[in-house]
Symmetry: C2
Subunit: 416 residues, 2 copies
C-alpha cells in the first residue's frame, strides 16, 4: 500500500511545526508496519491543489494535513473538491458543532468560519471534538473519475487536533484497508548502552532473514528503538533474536523510556531515589520528574554546580575536592553517598564531569564524566564515561548512562 | 527566487532526522529573507531522480540533501548526472581526500567509497572537511539543455556535515544569486510573556505596511521570534514598530534565549542566582546550565519534590506547609528566601505548582503554579500563573515565567 503525505501551513510559519507533524505521522505509519513513500510540504494556497493531485495519481492513500482553517489561504477542502469534481454542500452537523463551539467560548462566529461546514459531496466527515475544523475522508471510489484509486484524508494542521484524529479516526480505517491489517503486530524494543552500529552488526542480518518481518529503527541520542512489524509469528521470532543478542540492553518492549521504567519499578518496590548533579545541572532530575507519579519515588535532587554547594548540601569534604578535583571517582562516590544520607533514599545517583566547552585538561578532557551509584546495603560503584560534543548531548548521554546504571542494579544485570 | 528542497534518506530511518534537516534548512533560507516554496522527502533510491527533476523544472534553486554516501541506495549523485546528461568523471582531489580520510582512521577504503569521488562533468565540488561525501554544485547553465534554469546543490545528509556545508559553502553562493543579497539584513526580535495572537494583533498589520519588509515568525512554547528581513531601512523601521508596541517583552535582538541573556547579564554584574524547584523538577536549573559559562553565576539548585525536602534544604517551616499547602504564595516566597539564604546568592527563583495529571483541586486546579523571586535588598515577589496541559508544557512555561520575572527585575522593567 503506497502512502504519501502532503502537509501545508502558513508560509510565515513554515518549518518546525509542519516538519514535526510530518515526522510524527511518518512514525505512526511506520507503527502500522508501513512506509511513507513521499512527503511533500507546501505553503497554504493554490499550490496545495497540485500537490494533492500529484500524490493521488501515484498512491493508494494520501494523508493531507493543514489548510482546513477559516482564512482565505486555507484551500485544502476546496482544492480536494475541485480536483475530484465534487460540489460543496453545507453540512448541518458541522454547522451545529461550530455554533456550539463558539457559543461555549462566548466568541462570535463570522461568515468565514462557516466555510469549515462546507463538505464535498460524498466525502465522509471526521469529527473534530478537539477543535473547529473537521477532517474529511474521500474513499477511493471518489477518485475513479480522475483515473486514480486513492483514498484521500484531509486532517487539521494544529498538532492537538491532528494527533487524536489520526490515532482515533484515520488509523482504524488504514488498518481496514490493509489485507492483514487486523492481525498485524508492531513491537518496539528499546535498546540503550550500545551504539547503533553495534546493534546493526549484532542483529540486522539475522532479522532481515526472517520471512514476513519488517524492520525499522528510530534512533535518538541515548537509545534506539528497534521496530519489528508483521504477523505475530515473524515478530515473535524477531523479538527472540533481539533478546538473545542484546538482552541486557533492552530497556522496554512497550516504548517506555528508561525514566518511566525506573519510576515504575521503584514505585512497585516502595523505594526512593535521590540525585546529585554537577555538570548535568538538573537535567537528570528533570527527566525523572517528567514521569507522572515521580513524586512517589523522588523527593530530593541537589544541583551542586559550585564546589561550595557540594560541601554544604552533600557533605563532600574540602580535602577530597582539593586532592582529587571535583571531577573524579572519589568525589562522584562522595556525592552519591552524601545525597543518599541526607535524603534517606534507597538509591542515589551522582554525576560530575566536564560539559565544556572549557574546563578540560589532558587527563580529563571535555566530555569526561564520573557517575556514582550508592544504594542502601550495597557497595557504591563509580563508572567513568566520555561524551565529547555539545552540552545538550553531554547532558543527555551522561544522565542516560546514570539511569542505566540504576536500571542494571535494580534488575541485577551486570554493569557495563 | 523560487527555492525547493529535496531530502532523501534510508527508509529504515525515514522521519525524524530528515524532517529535522529540512526544517533547519528552511530556517536558514528564511534567515536570508527567502521562502522554501516546496519541500519533498523521499526514501533513498531511484525515486530521487523524479523528485530532483520535478523540482528543477519549477525552481531557480534546488537544494538536495542525502543520498551521497557509499551504499547502493545512495543515488543522488548519479541521478543528478543522468537528469542533466552529464558523464561522471573521477575527481583526483576527492580521491586524495578519501584516501587521507581512511588512512587517518586506520580504516580500509573499499571500492564503493570511490563512488564518492565520481563527479558529473561541469559540476563544482563543495569540499567536505567534516566527512567523506563532498557536496556538488550545478550552476544553472548545466540545466539549460533540459529547458530549465535551476541552480542545483547536492548536500550530505548527516547533520554534522550538512550544516557547516550549508552555512559556509552554499549560503554565500545563494547570496550572490540574489540581486540584493549582499545588502540584505535579517533581524530576529525574541518576544516572551505575550501570546502569539497578541503579537499579531499589536504589530502585524503595521509591519505588513512597511514597503520592502518581509515578515516571518518562529513560534516555540514560551517565546516567539519575529523575523524581519529586507534592506537595512525597512528592517530598522519594522524593528522600531516592534520596540514601540512590545518593548518590555523583547528578550533579545540576536536570537539569544532568555537563559543566555540572564547568565550573561548576571556574569557582567558579578551576581549569583540560585533556584528552588518543586513541580518543575530541575528543568529550570537545567535550562540555566545549558548556557556555557553558567558556572560563573549559578552554584546551587535545589529540587525539593517532597515537602520534607523543602523543610530540610530550604528551611520552609512545617507550619507554613501545613497552613497554606505546598502550592501557595507563602511557600513560594519561603522557598525563594530559603535558597537565597542557604546559598548566599544575589537572586533566587522558586517554583511550586501542580504539574498534573493528578493533584489538582477546585481552588488550585492542575496547571496552577506560584513563582517566587527573592533578591538581596529587594522585597520578595510572588506571582501566580496557570499552565494547564502536558507536563512538558507546564515545566517549560513555568520556568519561562520564572526566568522572565528575573529578567524584568534585572532590567528594571515592570513585572507582568
Amino acid at each position: 500500500m503506497r502512502i504519501e503525505l502532503v502537509n501545508t501551513g502558513d508560509e510565515l510559519l513554515l518549518g518546525d511545526t509542519i516538519n514535526t507533524n510530518a515526522a510524527w505521522i511518518g512514525q505512526r505509519i511506520a507503527a502500522l508496519g508501513l512506509m511513507v513513500a513521499r512527503q511533500t510540504i507546501v505553503s497554504d494556497g493554490p499550490v496545495i491543489k497540485d500537490a494533492i493531485a500529484e500524490a493521488a495519481a501515484r498512491s493508494d492513500v494520501v494523508l493531507v494535513s493543514g489548510g482546513l482553517g477559516p482564512t482565505n489561504d486555507d484551500l485544502t477542502r476546496e482544492s480536494a473538491a475541485e480536483i475530484l469534481g465534487l460540489p460543496l454542500v453545507q453540512d448541518p452537523g458541522i454547522t451545529a458543532h461550530l455554533e456550539a463551539f463558539f457559543a461555549k467560548r462566548n466568541r462570535v462566529m463570522v461568515a468565514s468560519n462557516l466555510r469549515q461546514a462546507m463538505v464535498p459531496a460524498g466525502a465522509l466527515v471526521l469529527d473534530n471534538p478537539w477543535g473547529t475544523a473537521p477532517g474529511l475522508y474521500f474513499p477511493a471510489e471518489l477518485s475513479h473519475a480522475c483515473g486514480w484509486n486513492a483514498h484521500i484524508f484531509l486532517l487539521p494542521g494544529p498538532p492537538r487536533e491532528l494527533k487524536p484524529m489520526m490515532e482515533n479516526l484515520v488509523e482504524p480505517r488504514l488498518r481496514e484497508l490493509l489485507p492483514d491489517g487486523a492481525s498485524r503486530r508492531v513491537l518496539y524494543l528499546k535498546i540503550t548502552g550500545v551504539g547503533e552500529s553495534d546493534i546493526v552488526e549484532k542483529v540486522e542480518k539475522k532479522l532481515e532473514a526472517v520471512p514476513g518481518l519488517t524492520l525499522g529503527y528510530c534512533i535518538r541520542q541515548g537509545d534506539v528503538d528497534v521496530r519489528l512489524s508483521g504477523q505475530s509469528e515473524p515478530v515473535e521470532t524477531g523479538a527472540a533474536i533481539v533478546r538473545e543478542h542484546l538482552g541486557p540492553c533492552i530497556v522496554s518492549e512497550d516504548r517506555r523510556m528508561i525514566e518511566e521504567v525506573l519510576v515504575q519499578t521503584l514505585a512497585d518496590r516502595g523505594q526512593w531515589l535521590s540525585t546529585a548533579e554537577s555538570c548535568t545541572g538538573g537535567f537528570m532530575a528533570s527527566r525523572i520528574t517528567d514521569v507522572s507519579g515521580a513524586s512517589r519515588v523522588f523527593g530530593h535532587g541537589i544541583v551542586t554546580y559550585a564546589n561550595e554547594a557540594k560541601q554544604r548540601h552533600l557533605g563532600v569534604s574540602a580535602q577530597l575536592l582539593e586532592q582529587h578535583g571535583a571531577v573524579s571517582e572519589p568525589v562522584a562516590a562522595a556525592m552519591a553517598e552524601g545525597v543518599l544520607a541526607v535524603s534517606g533514599a534507597d538509591h542515589a545517583l551522582a554525576i560530575t564531569g566536564i560539559a565544556g566547552p572549557t574546563g578540560g585538561s589532558e587527563d580529563k578532557p571535555v566530555g569526561t564524566v564520573f557517575i556514582g551509584l550508592a544504594s542502601k546495603g550495597s557497595a557504591t560503584v563509580v563508572r567513568r564515561f566520555f561524551y565529547p560534543g555539545s552540552r545538550d548531548r553531554f547532558k543527555l548521554l551522561s544522565s542516560q548512562a546514570a539511569l542505566e546504571m540504576l536500571r542494571r542494579r535494580l534488575f541485577e544485570l551486570p554493569l557495563a
